[in-house]
Structure formats: structure tokens, C-alpha cells
């Protein structure tokens, strides 16, 4: 509302208070997020190495970046990781939520068990996971001592499979959280619709497939946003679990960017990879945000 010239004090006050209240958050956002993004994009065109410096080098960093074979590896890994992670988390989350919604005795006990991994960082659970996945002391070893000697589970040591152990641990951490979101969605569905569908003779399977799951669309969308943001930011997990190895087999863009910016003293290349990452994120998120926010208007 634009205040009329003859508005009284209270009305005028009420017109600018909301904007005033929003402004600190906005200012912080503009400086600390968008300002920094611009800064980082700018750095990607400079010869920065150990600290920011401002010698303009044009596209050189991007050129170097695309010549690095393990940048490619990290992008491919990101594709594998993100798609598997999002799909598996969604499936497990939805499945568990549906099962848990069947008037399960002990739901109060199971729910926190499913949820708690989200509370832990991989700095905390990294070692336990590493042990568990290690064929020498972990699952494989345990199976062997239990007499199943042909059991093999050495993915974490295997260049081609290591990325899947990263997926496994990541799914462990977040699928319970996704479950909670779906459970919330399920609990919000009107029972009368379900009864009506049952009167129509729908089987349980059809009930879920045709009636319930389509109604969970908002939960799917929320899950997608949260999962994709976690996938993009996955960093601690890789560092704690594989350190990017074996070799560079589990390198992700986030770890790539970190290592170039901070441990390899090639801040320019690091910034270039960050820029590409941000553009990818933007390409995925902006259409989504646009659709979501427009709808609500």
C-alpha cells in the first residue's frame, strides 16, 4: 500500500514498519549472500591464489578447470549421487511414512529412531560409518565371523562403487527426516476422501497410488528442495567417509571447490568451480521457485 498524502501517522507508520522489519534480513542477505556471490564470480576471473588478488585473467581459470579430469569426475559423481540420493531418500521416506501411518504400535518409539540421524553431523558418525563399511573390520568381517564367508562388501575400497557408499550414508542420515515430512503430509489428508474411495471399491494399493500419493504433492516438493540443497552441500560426509578417495573417485563439486580454494592455493580455479556450481543450482532452483511462488500469489 502506498500511503496517501493525507494518511494519519499511525497508518503511515504501519506502511513502513513492515519494510523496516524486513530490511535487516534483506540487507544481510544482499551483502552476505549476493554480494559474496558476485565477489566469488569476480574472483573466478582473477589470478587469485592464496588470497584474493585482482589481476584480471579472463576465462583462463575456466579453461584450466575444464581441462582437469577430476572436475569432470566430480560432476559425474554429483549427478550419480544427487539423483540416487534424492530418489532413494524419497522412496524410503514415503514407504516408511506409509507403513508408520498404519496405526503402528510403538510409533512413538520408532519415529525418533528414524529421525535421530538428522541430528548428528558426520564429524560425529564418520568414524562409525568408516568402520562399518570397511571390509576388514566392518560388515564383511562380521558376516565372515558369523560364518557367511563368501559375503563381500568392499564398496568403499572400490573405485567404481565407493560413491554408492556415500549415497548409503547420506540416505541413512536424511531418509528419516523425509519420512517425517511425508508422515505429516499423510496425517493431513482428510479421512473422508479415503472412506469414499474405499466405498468405491479401491484396494489399498490403488488407494495409495491414485488417491493419497497424488495429494502429497506439497510434501514431495518440500522434500525435493531440502534434499537437493543437502545434496549440493554434501561435504563433511565425503571428507569423513572417503576423503574423496579411493583416488579421486568420490570427489564432489563441493570438495573440489574447497580443495582448490583452500588447500591447493588456486583460489581462481576454486572460484570458477563455485560459479559453475551456483549456476547449476540456479538453473534447477529458479524455475522451481518461480512456479512455486507464482502459484501462491
Amino acid at each position: 500500500m502506498a500511503a496517501s498524502a493525507d494518511a494519519d501517522f499511525k497508518t503511515r507508520l504501519q506502511n513502513w514498519i513492515p519494510k523496516l522489519v524486513l530490511s535487516p534480513s534483506l540487507a544481510m542477505m544482499l551483502v552476505f549472500v549476493y554480494g559474496f556471490i558476485l565477489f566469488s564470480v569476480y574472483l573466478s576471473f582473477t589470478d587469485s591464489r592464496i588470497l584474493p588478488s585482482f589481476g584480471w585473467v579472463g576465462w583462463e581459470n575456466y579453461d584450466k578447470l575444464w581441462r582437469l579430469s577430476h572436475w569432470e569426475t566430480s560432476l559425474i559423481n554429483m549427478g550419480i549421487f544427487a539423483s540416487l540420493y534424492i530418489v532413494i531418500c524419497t522412496c524410503i521416506g514415503l514407504g516408511l511414512a506409509i507403513f508408520l501411518d498404519q496405526k503402528i504400535r510403538g510409533e512413538g518409539l520408532l519415529r525418533p529412531i528414524y529421525l535421530y540421524p538428522m541430528a548428528l553431523s558426520f564429524i560425529v558418525t564418520g568414524t562409525a560409518w568408516k568402520w562399518f563399511l570397511d571390509p576388514g573390520i566392518g560388515l564383511e568381517n562380521v558376516m565372515h565371523t558369523w560364518g557367511w564367508t563368501s559375503f563381500e562388501f568392499d564398496w568403499i575400497k572400490n573405485r567404481d562403487y565407493a560413491i554408492y557408499t556415500v549415497v548409503l550414508a547420506a540416505v541413512w542420515q536424511t531418509s528419516g527426516f523425509v519420512m517425517a515430512m511425508f508422515l505429516a503430509g499423510l496425517r493431513g489428508i482428510d479421512n473422508e476422501i479415503l472412506r469414499a474411495a474405499q466405498m468405491d471399491g479401491a484396494s489399498n494399493w490403488n488407494l495409495y497410488r491414485r488417491i493419497i500419493i497424488p495429494q502429497l504433492r506439497p510434501a514431495f516438493l518440500s522434500a525435493f528442495v531440502i534434499l537437493s540443497h543437502l545434496a549440493i552441500k554434501t561435504f563433511d560426509l565425503v571428507i569423513a567417509l572417503t576423503g574423496g578417495g579411493p583416488g579421486r573417485a568420490t570427489e564432489l563439486p563441493a570438495t573440489f571447490m574447497y580443495s582448490y580454494t583452500f588447500t591447493r592455493n588456486q583460489m581462481g580455479i576454486g572460484a570458477a568451480s563455485a560459479t559453475i556450481m551456483l549456476m547449476t543450482i540456479a538453473a534447477i532452483m529458479i524455475p522451481y521457485l518461480y512456479a512455486e511462488l507464482r502459484e501462491k500469489r
Partner: protein, 370 residues
């Protein structure tokens, strides 16, 4: 100058004008009802009076004070919302006195005012409850209490009864009417229910498409609707509107209407105004209650016409029986006494009280008679 003046008020959102130059003047103690279908702009107008929406152009004055740009709380108005808008975290008592508290009224006075209002509305025993524990009717009372306690210049009601069940709605309607009669306050009341509009108001503004279609006393609007929209919107069942042709027989204009078998019935008008329309098409408006059997016809009427037609369906409704027939190619409803002897398929001799008949220009849809 009225008590509340709406002077050429216009509202637009961007380029879209949703209210067009509304001009209403409300007198002190008047009960104005804004009625119309959803999206007609009635709630927008109410919100503009309340100060919840800005006025794009024009003026709103209360007691000759221009209210444009004045904060809602400084207009000395009170509002009852459709959902009652009771603050869920406060008790009934706190809900009622919240406005006073915001205006800095000291606690003892607030208490006193609250007790008075609670007594008036018979909700004393509810004062410590939370809104979630109340029934619909009780919430309605609390919402009114919250408005009353402020002792405002103008009460605004935004469809306050639409969330109640049918019986309660009727009771509350009566209650509001009583309250208005006892307190003599000025009320602007928004509803889409024309019965509420008729029963409660001292004047009605019928709105559609952002225009005030007609402003007047209830009976005036009922008897002489300004146009087809008002005619069909007000009254239940709605006024029958059928195409007819004006023929002047014996110097008197008649409406020539086709009955079920295509033969023509001639219905004489009471007035002569339509002589100029001789031979032209009009739309004839007949209220259901003016079509009866011969015994049920209004004895005071000086112009009862007879018309033979075939009954299609009968719907006994206890107090009345509704009878439908074909007239002018349309379904027409007649409202008969419950003991009228009618049966589907029967050829029946109807009495039409042409004194109450209305005629519209089929092109402009405006009333041309009476």
C-alpha cells in the same frame, strides 16, 4: 450529509477497477445491508469503510470526518468477521477487552464494560473459556461482544452468519435485529443471503460487478427491482422472468405469453405505461407468490388475471406447495397454499396477480414497469 458517507468511492488493483464510483449515504441508526453474489465487491467496500483496504479515489466520511488514510483503529468502528476472527490464544474475556486494552482503557473500566456486554449477550459463563471450546453460536456472540464493547460509531458485519447452521442462523438473525432495535446503532452488513438482507435491513444496496445496482428500502427493492439482476437475486424462489409480447387490447396493454401447448395467454397490466411498447418484446417478471390458485389469490388486488396451464411438477414444502409449469418457453414456479389441490400433468387454472407484475426492457434489462 449522512452519518456515514461513501462518496464516489473507487477501488482498483493495478489496472483492474473492482469498485466503480460507489455513492451511498447512511443515516445514523440505519441498518444498511450490502448484498450481492461473491465477487461483487461488497466485502471490498466494507473493508474500505473499515480502513483495511485503501480507497483508490473518492472519499469515505464518518460523522463528516474524512476517513481516507485514517488507521482502522482510529475510525471508531467495530467489525464482526465471517470466521469471527477470535484470537485463539486468548480467553473470551480477553478477546472482548483486547480492543479497549489497545486503546489504553484502564483495567477496571475494561472489566466493567466486559461484564455489561457479556450480560447483554448472555455469555457471562463463557468469559474464561478459549474460543476453541465454544460452539458456533457462542463464538458468534463473542465476536459481537467484541464489537459492542468498543461502543463504536459504526458496526461492520462481514457475512457473520454464514458459518452457522440453518436454525442457528435464523435465531442469530433475530438477535442481531433485536440488538439493533435496542441499541439504535449504525450498521453496515455484508451478506450474500437475500433473506438476511430483507429481514435485517432498513436499506439494502444490491451490488454486482462492482456497481451498486439498486439502493433502497427492502420492500422497494422487492417490489420494484431496478433491473433483472436485482429482480432475480432478491427473493426465494427467484422472480420468474419470461419473454412476453405487449399487445394492447381494449386500450389496455397486455402481456402475451405462451403457455405449455403454445397457445397464448393474455395477462393485462395494471398500468398504461406500456402502451408505447405495443407489439414489442419485453421480459415479464412475476414473483412466484403472485401465481396462485383462484382461491388463494390476493383479495385486495384489483387485477387478478386467469391463465390455464399444465402443471409439470409439484413440490409440497409444508407451508406452501411449489408448482412448476412452462411459460414463455421457460420453467416458471408458482407458490400455492399447501392445501391447493394440484397434481403433476393436471391442466390448472392459475390466478396471476398482475398488480405486482414487473416488466423489463429485454435489451438494457432495466425495469420499465411499474
Amino acid at each position: 450529509m449522512g452519518f456515514l458517507d461513501i462518496d464516489n468511492a473507487t477501488k482498483s488493483y493495478g489496472a483492474v477497477e473492482v469498485l466503480h464510483k460507489v455513492d451511498i449515504s447512511v443515516q445514523e441508526g440505519e441498518f444498511l445491508v450490502l448484498v450481492g453474489p461473491s465477487g461483487c465487491g461488497k466485502s471490498t467496500l466494507l473493508n474500505m469503510i473499515a480502513g483495511l483496504e485503501e480507497i483508490t479515489s473518492g472519499e469515505i466520511r464518518i460523522k463528516d470526518q474524512v476517513m481516507n488514510g485514517v488507521h482502522p483503529s482510529n475510525r471508531n468502528i467495530a467489525m464482526v468477521f465471517q470466521s469471527y476472527a477470535l484470537y485463539p490464544n486468548m480467553t473470551v474475556g480477553q478477546n472482548i477487552t483486547f480492543g479497549l486494552e489497545m486503546h489504553g482503557v484502564p483495567k477496571p473500566e475494561r472489566e466493567k464494560a466486559m461484564q455489561e456486554v457479556a450480560k447483554l449477550l448472555q455469555i457471562e459463563q463463557l468469559l474464561d473459556r478459549k474460543p476453541g471450546q465454544l460452539s458456533g453460536g457462542q463464538r458468534q456472540r463473542v465476536a459481537m461482544g467484541r464489537a459492542l464493547v468498543r461502543n463504536p460509531d459504526v458496526f461492520l458485519f462481514d457475512e457473520p452468519l454464514s458459518n452457522l447452521d440453518a436454525k442457528l442462523r435464523v435465531d442469530m438473525r433475530t438477535e442481531i435485529k433485536k440488538l439493533h432495535q435496542n441499541l439504535g446503532t449504525t450498521i453496515v452488513y455484508v451478506t450474500h443471503d437475500q433473506i438476511e438482507a430483507m429481514t435485517l435491513s432498513s436499506r439494502i444496496a444490491v451490488m454486482n460487478g462492482g456497481y451498486v445496482q439498486q439502493l433502497g428500502a427492502p420492500q422497494e427493492i422487492y417490489d420494484t427491482p431496478a433491473n433483472i439482476f436485482v429482480a432475480t437475486f432478491m427473493g426465494s424462489p427467484a422472480m420468474n422472468v419470461v419473454p412476453a409480447k405487449v399487445t394492447v387490447l381494449n386500450g389496455r396493454p397486455h402481456a402475451e405469453v405462451a403457455v405449455h401447448d403454445g397457445s397464448m395467454a393474455q395477462l393485462p397490466f395494471s398500468q398504461d405505461n406500456l402502451a408505447a411498447w405495443d407489439g414489442r418484446e419485453i421480459l415479464l417478471g412475476i414473483r412466484p407468490e403472485t401465481i396462485t390458485d383462484l382461491d388463494g389469490a390476493d383479495r385486495k388486488s384489483s387485477n387478478i388475471a386467469q391463465m390455464a396451464n399444465r402443471i409439470v411438477v409439484t413440490e409440497p414444502a409444508g407451508s406452501d406447495t411449489f408448482v412448476s409449469m412452462q411459460l414463455g418457453g421457460r420453467d416458471v414456479i408458482a407458490r400455492m397454499r399447501s392445501d391447493a389441490e394440484v397434481a403433476p400433468g393436471q391442466d390448472f387454472n392459475f390466478a396471476v396477480n398482475m398488480e405486482k407484475a414487473v416488466a423489463f426492457d429485454p435489451e438494457s434489462e432495466m425495469r420499465i414497469l411499474p
